[in-house]
């Protein structure tokens, strides 16, 4: 099953399970979703449960918040994360604040689904990975699955969560395939706030989220041919951030690399590195290595875009550098 299909199945099942769940967003109905995640759902569930909107992100994210305050469970799609910037006030000043600001008397059970990422030459205004802005904001929860199983399980959990959850997808991941687990009683739910060791290893800890996890797995395979076993940890959730799982690993490996698709500076990796350094102060053989997108608005031309992205070769080079510095290679 693809990541896209896993999302679709989760949406479909949650629409079935709970009448309060409804979808809202641009082009998610007749058009079947800009990236076809919601294909077929409008036909099946109709316009009330699958609500098509004008180009009014601020308006319909706000409407999602208001509906959630009255107990509905809106799942709002923002076509790509870049457009969430026009609704930033709704997310950061409103959704994140309501529970605290009204003394815990109202909460906002809402999911905002949105894909980020680059790689298709969509250029500066359509290639961002802005998750750190939300991960920085108390009152929000932020998840970013990298596999169909996690996409499925985390989306269902997010929909059932009583708080605003930013659900960060990734354009390249939509076609990623993988199994989703059989329902053995837990409905395949994946808890928010638990990282996942997707590949075990004792020589190096690689930490990532979303599509970059796949890249790290490729690099780990390459490294294994050099006799180095990298452990790859998928953060899955950025807020809350499961530091324990990372720290347990680094205590064992003594080496850590954090990779992400967004800009490194003030990025996700900064927080992870700061925490790992602190918790593993005596365990690290070398400083945590960070890899991220080049610090530029994404250019169009393919060679420039490739140069700006944290592709496998770049991650591998960083990993090798780190291992060399530690005398392993």
């Amino acid at each position: 099953m693809t990541y896209r299909e896993a999302l679709r199945r989760a949406l479909d099942e949650e629409l079935e399970r709970d009448d309060n769940v409804f979808l809202m967003g641009e082009e998610i109905g007749r058009f079947e979703g800009s990236y076809k995640v919601t294909a077929g759902l409008w036909k099946k569930w109709g316009g009330k449960r699958v609500r098509e909107t004008p180009i009014s992100e601020e308006g319909f994210v706000g409407a999602g918040i208001g509906a959630a305050m009255l107990g509905l469970r809106p799942v709002v799609e923002i076509m790509t994360v870049n457009f969430i910037l026009v609704a930033m006030d709704m997310v950061v000043n409103h959704a994140a604040k309501i529970s605290q600001m009204f003394g815990g008397k109202i909460n906002v059970p809402m999911v905002i689904r949105t894909p980020g990422g680059a790689g298709a030459q969509l250029t500066a205004q359509h290639s961002q990975s802005l998750e750190v802005m939300f991960a920085h904001t108390p009152g929000l929860k932020v998840v970013a699955p990298s596999s169909p199983a996690d996409a499925y399980g985390l989306l269902k959990t997010a929909i059932r969560d009583d708080d605003p959850v930013l659900f960060m997808e990734n354009l390249i991941l939509y076609n990623q395939t993988g199994p989703i687990p059989d329902d053995d009683g837990d409905e395949g739910l994946v808890p928010i706030g638990r990282a996942n060791v997707v590949r075990p290893g004792d020589d190096l800890t690689m930490v990532a989220h979303s599509y970059t996890v796949r890249r790290c797995l490729t690099v780990a395979d390459r490294l294994s041919q050099l006799g180095v076993q990298a452990e790859v940890i998928d953060l899955r959730s950025l807020r809350p951030l499961d530091v324990d799982t990372v720290v347990d690993s680094v205590r064992r490996t003594g080496r850590c690399l954090v990779a992400e698709e967004g800009w490194s500076t003030f990025g996700v990796g900064a927080e992870v590195a700061a925490r790992v350094h602190r918790a593993c102060f005596d365990d690290l053989d070398a400083p945590v290595e960070r890899v991220g997108g080049a610090e530029v608005p994404m250019p169009y031309a393919k060679p420039l875009e490739m140069a700006a992205m944290p592709l496998e070769d770049k991650i591998e080079a960083a990993a090798r550098g780190l291992l060399r510095d530690c005398g392993v290679l």
Binding site: F22, K48, T53, P54, S56, E58, G59, F60, V61, G62, A63, G64, I65, G66, A67, A68, M69, L70, G71, L72, P74, D89, M90, N93, H94, S99, Q100, M101, F102, G103, G104, K105, I106, N107, V108, P109, P138, G139, K141, D161, D162, D163, P191, I192, G193, P240, L241, D242, V243, D244, V247, R275, R278, A279, C280, F281, D282
Partner: protein
């Protein structure tokens, strides 16, 4: 003239209604005067935006709301809360930052709330609550409920993008909502003419094929009549509306603003001559439903009520600092989740496990 007043005013049909309306308005006025005083005595912090002068706009529009309806306000929300019937002691408690406040002391002046009365805030970002109110109306429609949303906003808020998106969505989706513009002619020091290319604000509704109209916001009867009618249409026909209530704030934008640089003394005086409370009291007396004595008694009652509210608020406990994190998330499981982030994490104020050197 008195007969035509009576005719147009269901509020003057009986003494009970007239007394209730007048009392609400006087309560807001007195509450705000005492709030101002308490603020200058530093018992209230933050910003403090008073609704003095806007009593008729608040009371007239909120009076027709039923148990099925929801109410949203801006940050200038003391009058809104009192008009919807929130306990003055709990409102004052909130201003005092007490645990007994309507938001437990977490919200303050701008974020009053009263879930039981379906008053859903009290919002601080100008225009920001409009899409949210649309969402509430969407939920009512989704559930095929009988309710309707009344959403207040200022004249200044009409120039925000949120206003545009909210009104278009409400009209497009045929939602049960009435937007009440409390046009007090200024957003801080900026007059409507300095901010809005179309100064007859109600006319902007047409851009959304929405009904718009303007009434005298100092005439509680007129506001009541229009609000009742438009709420009814929204409820029954799912046709939203924009109701402009033209009024004036007698004070500055906030207690920190004298409100004089950008307005002339003549302008202020002219509006004070049309004090909404005086207008209605005079009319009620003229119509014979209340006596001057009734009014005096009512004023004394309200004085006492507000004094009591202040006393109650003053003696109430502050929220416990131990609960600083309790309301950040609505989900009970979240505390545990975040606790798992303990390792060297700056989440919370926990004593860190300094396991790096043990």
């Amino acid at each position: 003239m008195s007969s035509s007043v009576e005719q147009h005013s269901p509020l003057l049909r009986d003494a009970a209604a007239a007394r209730r309306i007048l009392r609400q308005m006087v309560l807001i006025r007195r509450f705000e005067e005492r709030t101002e005083e308490q603020y200058t005595r530093a018992r209230i912090g933050g910003y403090c935006h008073l609704a003095i002068g806007e009593e008729a706009a608040n009371v007239g529009a909120i009076e027709p709301l039923t148990d099925a309806d929801y109410l949203f306000g801006s940050y200038r929300d003391h009058g809104t809360a009192l008009a919807v019937g929130s306990d003055p002691a709990a409102v004052m408690g909130e201003l005092f930052g007490k645990a007994t406040g309507v938001a437990g002391g977490y919200g303050g002046s701008m974020h009053l709330v009263d879930v039981e009365r379906r008053f859903l805030g009290g919002w601080g970002i100008v225009g920001g609550h409009l899409p949210i109110a649309v969402g509430a109306a969407l939920a009512l429609d989704y559930r095929e409920a009988d309710g309707v949303v009344l959403c207040q906003l200022g004249d200044g808020a009409m120039n925000t993008g949120a206003f545009h998106e909210a009104l278009n969505l409400a009209a497009l989706w045929k939602l049960p909502i009435v937007f009440q513009v409390i046009n007090n002619q200024y957003g801080m020091g900026t007059s409507v003419a300095m901010a809005s290319a179309e100064t007859e604000l109600w006319k902007r509704a047409a851009a959304y094929e929405m009904h718009g109209e303007r009434v005298d916001g100092n005439d509680v009867d007129a506001v009541y009549e229009a609000a009742s009618r438009l709420l009814q249409i929204a409820r029954e026909q799912r046709r939203p509306a924009l109701l402009e209530t033209l009024t004036y704030r007698f004070r500055g934008h906030s207690v920190a603003d004298a409100g004089k640089v950008y307005r002339t003394p003549e302008e202020i005086a002219a509006w004070k001559a049309r004090d909404p409370i005086e207008l209605f009291a005079a009319r009620a007396i003229e119509a014979g439903v209340l006596t001057a004595d009734d009014v005096a008694v009512l004023r004394r009652d309200v004085d006492t009520q507000v004094s009591d509210a202040i006393k109650e608020a003053a003696s109430a406990p502050s929220p416990d600092v131990a609960h600083l994190y309790d309301n950040v998330y609505g989900d009970a499981g979240t505390g545990e989740q975040f606790a798992r982030m303990d390792t060297a994490a700056p989440f919370g104020e926990r004593r860190e496990t300094r396991n790096w050197r043990t």
